[in-house]
Symmetry: C2
Subunit: 133 residues, 2 copies
């Protein structure tokens, strides 16, 4: 194993500096179960209105999900931007939203977490190494 250390600079702001920026970018990854891929695509082509509105009200914007196969397995990669001032509070509002909870009952079984995540979410948050605004 090769040990690596995070390096910060002009084009990779430290977590502290990122936290001060008006837009904070999140990249995440999760495996998708191949037998559920088609259903996941159906759901996401026409996301439920209430779920979409709750995301926007929680100060999330510019939210993309991509899919790609790596070594025979399929993965989802998400990118979104958070522009509020209370990330945990805004996420809690999403997590307690009734329609979102119904939505997750559909989407959760499509996903297979890479590892157990601290907050119980299926998605693993990735580490940023570069940012050019």
């Amino acid at each position: 194993m090769t040990a690596t250390t995070a390096i910060y600079g002009e084009t990779n702001p430290s977590p502290q500096d990122l936290g001060k920026m008006p837009i904070r970018r999140y990249g995440s990854v999760v495996e998708i179960r191949k037998e559920k891929e088609q259903y996941y695509r159906e759901l996401h082509a026409n996301g439920w209105n209430g779920v979409m509105e709750r995301i926007k009200k929680s100060n999330i914007q510019n939210y993309s999900i991509f899919i790609h196969e790596i070594e025979g397995k399929k993965y989802l990669f998400s990118y979104f931007e958070y522009i509020g001032n209370d990330f945990d509070g805004d996420m809690a509002k999403i997590a307690s939203d009734k329609e979102t909870r119904r939505w997750w009952k559909e989407t959760d079984p499509c996903q297979k977490p890479l590892t157990a995540t601290p907050d119980g979410s299926n998605w693993s948050v990735m580490e940023p190494v570069f940012l050019l605004e």
Copy 2:
């Protein structure tokens, strides 16, 4: 193998509709050689000025790279937005830029393409399945 088909809708615009949008979002993935990870981090913490300027002049904005380990290997995931009207032309200007070519001599050996890509780039472009602006 489970056959899947792309599904387009309100929250997953078709390639044709995406092409008409003022901002076009690209997600890509490549493996990073673990023995080169530290050097890649060093390079990207302070991207060379000329390379960064050439990217911006080619109508690319909001460019993030993230790193994450999947099943014992490390991968880089990039997200950027293209706001110009001639993607191929703008990319060709990057590819012919002298400083960028020197930069790629440093970054290319850090990466291991998932598969041979049409344009000879190390990065594999991922398929979008969701967009909430």
